[in-house]
Every structure is written in C-alpha cells, then in structure tokens.
C-alpha cells in the first residue's frame, strides 16, 4: 500500500486520475448531461450559431445543434478510438518486443529494423498517408493509427526484455527446462509490465491528439459524428463570429489529454524514481 500512498501524495497525478475517471464516467453515464439527445444530431436551423447561454452552455453550431451535448457525446468516441488503438498497438508491439528482446538472430534483427523504419518517420505523417490509402473514415483512421503506433511498444518492451533476460532467475528457469513461451508469458512479461502500462497511458493522450488531427484534416471521423477534431474544422468556417464552435471541443481535447499525461507522468515516477520530474 506504500505505492498507493506515494501516488496519492502526487497531486498532479491524482488530478490526472480524476480527469480520466470523470471522462470515463461521462462516456458511460453522460446521458443525463445531454440537454436533449435529439438536439445533438438533428439540425434545427432556428437555433443556429447561438452564443453560450444557460440553455446552451457551449452555444450552438451552424446547424443549431447544442455543442455541449456534442462535446459530451464526443468523449466516448475519443476514449473508444484511443483505447482501441492502444490495445491493438500493444497486441502487435508487445509480443514482437518480447520475442525480439529475448532471442538473437535473424528474426530479432528483422523485427527491430522494421521498427527502426517506422520510428524514423513522424507517426502522424505515416498515419495520414495510410488512412488516406485505406479510404477515409474513422475505421481507416483507427487502423492507420494502430499500424503506426505499435513500434513504440516494441521498442520499450525490447529494451526491458534485454535487461530482464540476463537476470539470474531467467537463467535458472532455462536451466530447469522451462519452455520459452512459458518464460516469456509468465516470468518476463510481468517484469516488463510497468513500462508498458506507463507507455500505454501516455499513448492514450498522444493518440487522442493524433486522431483529433486526423479528424481535423478530414481523414478521420466523418460528419455527423460528434468528433472533437472534426468539430473544430467545421467551426473554422464560422470564425470569428462563432468562436465557441472551435473553442470548446479544443478545450475538451486539452482536458482529456492533460488527464492522461498527468496520470502517465505520475505512474512513471512510481515505476522509475530516477526519472522523477518533481526533483
């Protein structure tokens, strides 16, 4: 419980956890917050482009839809996209990193060289190109993001596995004749889990930002999806009059990414005190 007490003393990390928890709550139980479910989807031109008011806390967009409602609805979307991408990237990247880190020889070399190539291009650029080629839309964007994010996990897991591989208990297991799969899954993986979790948490924030860029550029979510990035791009056409159309979805991105970043930083401090940022 020492670790929990240490975490609770880290105020930014607790704040991050609170933001993330709140976002998850909103995504699952946000319906009562929504002014009127129909208003977010069905255009109502009589109430278009209204500034923030009690009735519409974030104002309304060019089609008269309530922006607060759409931001709340977008929370679930952002979390779904980032969770899917991070989970898929982990599913590809972690096993590859384990194998490449534990073995020597051609397969290990090949995996790491491919990883190098992916890490040698800015992920965003690669994801844009891939999403474009796969055909625009949210599914294509998710696939493109996962296909370009796994090398970050491979790199992390590879370095950690290399370290763990030389430890005495692994040698002992090999001496006892344990199967390689068993060693990797039951003994090495738990020992490299902490950096994976940290990477995944920070990755959540990163993917939310990146997928917002994709939505903004038109290779991600498509209308009438209440995607935050897409909403900002729609709002650009109504500047400067309807400043609220671009401002509030951007603040939502900022808040959620901030939450994941603070949480990730806090967890990294727990896992690796050498990197403590508050020092």
């Amino acid at each position: 419980m020492l670790i929990l007490r240490k975490f609770l003393r880290d105020i930014p990390a607790v704040l991050g956890l609170a933001i993330v928890a709140l976002a998850i709550l909103i995504a699952f139980f946000g319906d009562p917050l929504i002014v009127d479910g129909a208003q977010a989807v069905i255009p109502d031109l009589r109430s278009r482009l209204q500034p923030p008011s009690w009735e519409h806390p974030f104002g309304t967009d060019n089609l008269g839809r309530d922006i607060f409602t759409r931001v709340v609805m977008g929370t679930g979307g952002a979390l779904t996209v980032s969770t899917t991408v991070v989970a898929a990237a982990m599913a590809i990247g972690v096993p590859l990193g384990l194998i490449a880190g534990y073995t020597n020889g051609f397969a290990s070399e090949a995996v790491m060289r491919v990883t190098d190539v992916f890490l040698a291009v800015p992920q965003l650029i690669l994801a844009i190109a891939l999403a474009q080629v796969l055909g625009r839309g949210l599914e294509a964007a998710v696939v493109a993001l996962a296909a370009t994010y796994w090398p970050f996990f491979t790199r992390t897991v590879y370095a950690e596995t290399r370290r763990v591989r030389t430890l005495l208990f692994v040698e002992a297991l090999e001496g006892l004749g344990a199967k390689r799969l068993r060693i990797l899954a039951m003994h090495v993986l738990p020992n490299v889990a902490a950096p994976i979790i940290v990477r995944a948490t920070i990755g959540m924030g990163f993917i939310i930002l990146t997928s917002a860029v994709l939505g903004f550029l038109g290779v991600g979510a498509t209308p009438p999806d209440p995607d935050w990035g897409l909403a900002i791009s729609e709002g650009r056409n109504y500047m400067p009059g309807a400043w609220w159309m671009t401002t509030f979805p951007g603040l939502a991105i900022l808040a959620l990414v901030l939450g994941f970043n603070l949480l990730g930083d806090g967890m990294r401090d727990l896992v690796d005190p050498r990197l403590r940022r508050s020092r």
Binding site: V121, I125, V133, A212, G218, L254
Partner: protein, 336 residues
C-alpha cells in the same frame, strides 16, 4: 568515434530502403486503377491497357519498385493524377517555406525553452517555477491546430495585431527567389518592408508550432539544471559565496545542456509533422498545406511523395542528432 559516426550515417540506408518499400506498398494498396483514372470514363479496355503499359504497370512488382526507388532517388516522384504536374517540382517549390517555418519554431523553442527551463530549475519551487510547470504541462496537451485557431481568433481577428494567414500580404511584390527563405531573400534584395511583413506573418504559425516543443525543452533543461545545481561543484561554488545566478551561469548550465540540445534536434521531426495541420490553418504555402490539398484531392502520388520526403528529412536529422550527441557526450558513442 570515427567508427561510431560512420555506423550512424550508414543507418540511413536501411531506413531509406524501408521508407521506399512502405511508400511503394501503400501506393499499390491505394484504391482505384491509375491507368483507368487517366483514361477517363469512356476508354476501351485496350486504351486502358495501353496506358498501363505506358505507365509501366504491366511489369513485375520488383522491377516497378526498383524503378520507383531509382526515380525517387533523383527527386522524381511521378506526375500527380490530379494536377498533372510533376510532384517532385511542387515539393521542391514548397519545401523552403516549411523549412523556414520549422527553423523559426525551432529557434523559439530552443532559446525560450532553455532560458525558461534554466530559470525555473535554478529557482525551483518558486512561484515562477510553479507557473512554468503548469504552462509546460498544458503545452504538451494542446492540439497544435486548435492552438493555431485560438491565436488567430485573439491576435489576428480580435486584436488585429498580426496577419491572419499566408506568407506575405496579398499584392506585395515577392523578393527574387534566391534561397527560398523569404527572410533571407528579402534582406538580399534590400527590401526591409518585405522582411518585416515576412516576420509578422511568420510569428503566429512559428509560435504555434514551437509551443509544445518549448515545453519539452523547458522540462528537460529544468530537470538537468536542478541536477547540476545539486552537484558537489555547485555546492562548493555556493559555499565560496557565488550568487545563485553565477552558479547557474555559466557553470551549471554548461553541464546541464547536453540533454536539452539533443532534445532540440529531435523536435525537428515533431515540428515538421505539427506543421502539417498548422500550415493548413494559416494557409502557409509549404509542404504541409500541400499534403492537405493532396489528401482532399485523393492524390496518392503526392501524399506518398510528401511522406517520403518528410521521412527522409526526419531520418537525416535524427542521425545528425545522434552524431552530435555522441560528440557532446562520448559515453553515448561507446555504448552504441
């Protein structure tokens, strides 16, 4: 050390090859038959086949790849099916604008980040330090394209202090193109009006791109300055009676700068990719807005060519950073 440098520089070969494979693979993955697209709706199958032969699409995949790689190495990325122009020429024309923007952002991030980080590290836990930490945390969580729009709203549209978009005011005569960097070209031409206009147009996009990077540099500088200020030599200097600013500058800062300097190099890649959306917001006539146009036109040739060029620039910069890091800190070179 020489061996280390050679090994790092040779790393560009597999990376380049992998990049080309990736781009070529995606080009083949792209939907639609380019030959059919060029031939138009009323073409006969024979006409399409003739165009396929013309384009070399009937050859073996490996031959096609070798051809693609050979042409790309010479800066020929093919002709855009959308604009019918050579993509390589378009890119060459637009690259300087992106580089000018990226370098300006890099300068802001490096200078600002190091100064702010050093001050907040030397006086850590002060009010200033707390303020800096909040701002840097926000900087890392901000979507750059959104920040760009917010700056436009406040500084261009509301206050009218800075121009909204573009590289020069409409109607202003562009100085003769020598380097492609307007700041330099306008000075060569002795056009101070163009220089000032370029600077004011550059301000908002460069600040936007620099913001997140400035946060990174400030963070790294801060923590390594704190570490250096806690070292024994710093304690000695303090005991001798040097004021804190003397301990910081030059003694502690000099030792603390290795990590931030390599960070600045790494930022280059991040900035080039941030530039994509930011250029689109500011109508900056660089590679980023070109990429966005190509996306909207479904112009795969152009999209992949830009990917290739940016990947290449990024890869080269990364290797330069590694080499510089090795020169600054020989322990790194020995480990690799």
């Amino acid at each position: 050390m020489a061996l280390f440098i050679v090994r790092r520089v040779l790393m560009i070969v597999p990376i380049l090859l992998g990049l080309l494979l990736l781009a070529f693979g995606m080009l083949r993955l792209a939907p639609g038959d380019p030959a059919a697209a060029i031939a138009g709706d009323n073409a006969t199958p024979e006409q399409i086949a003739a165009i396929r032969e013309d384009l070399g699409l009937d050859r073996h995949v490996i031959v096609q790849f070798a051809d693609y790689a050979w042409n790309a190495a010479q800066g020929d990325f093919g002709v855009s099916a959308y604009s019918n122009r050579a993509v390589g020429l378009d890119i060459a024309q637009r690259l300087p604008a992106t580089l000018e923007l990226t370098f300006a952002a890099l300068a802001i991030a490096a200078v600002g980040g190091i100064v702010i980080g050093a001050l907040s590290g030397a006086w850590y836990n002060s009010t200033f330090d707390h303020f800096v930490r909040v701002v840097t945390v926000l900087g890392l969580a901000t979507a750059s394209f959104w920040f760009a729009i917010m700056l436009q709203l406040v500084f261009a549209l509301d206050l009218g202090l800075l121009p909204l978009r573009g590289r020069l005011p409409a109607g202003m005569e562009v100085p003769p193109d020598i380097t492609g960097f307007l700041l330099i070209d306008s000075l060569i031409a002795g056009r101070l009006d163009a220089f000032g206009a370029t600077l004011s147009h550059l301000a908002l996009p460069a600040i936007t791109i620099a913001f997140g990077g400035l946060a990174t540099v400030a963070r790294f500088t801060r923590s390594s300055v704190i570490e250096a200020m806690h070292s024994e030599y710093a304690a000695y200097e303090t005991a001798v009676g040097y004021p804190r600013r003397r301990v910081l500058f030059p003694f502690a800062l000099k030792n603390a700068l290795v990590t931030p300097v390599t960070q600045v190099g790494l930022l280059f890649g991040a900035f080039v990719s941030n530039a994509v959306a930011v250029e689109a917001v500011f109508d900056w006539p660089g590679l980023g807005s070109y990429l966005v146009q190509a996306i909207f036109a479904a112009d795969y040739t152009a999209v992949l060519a830009v990917t290739l060029v940016i990947g290449f620039v990024y890869g080269v910069v990364n290797i330069v950073v590694d080499v510089v890091h090795g020169l600054l800190d020989p322990r790194v070179a020995e480990r690799m």
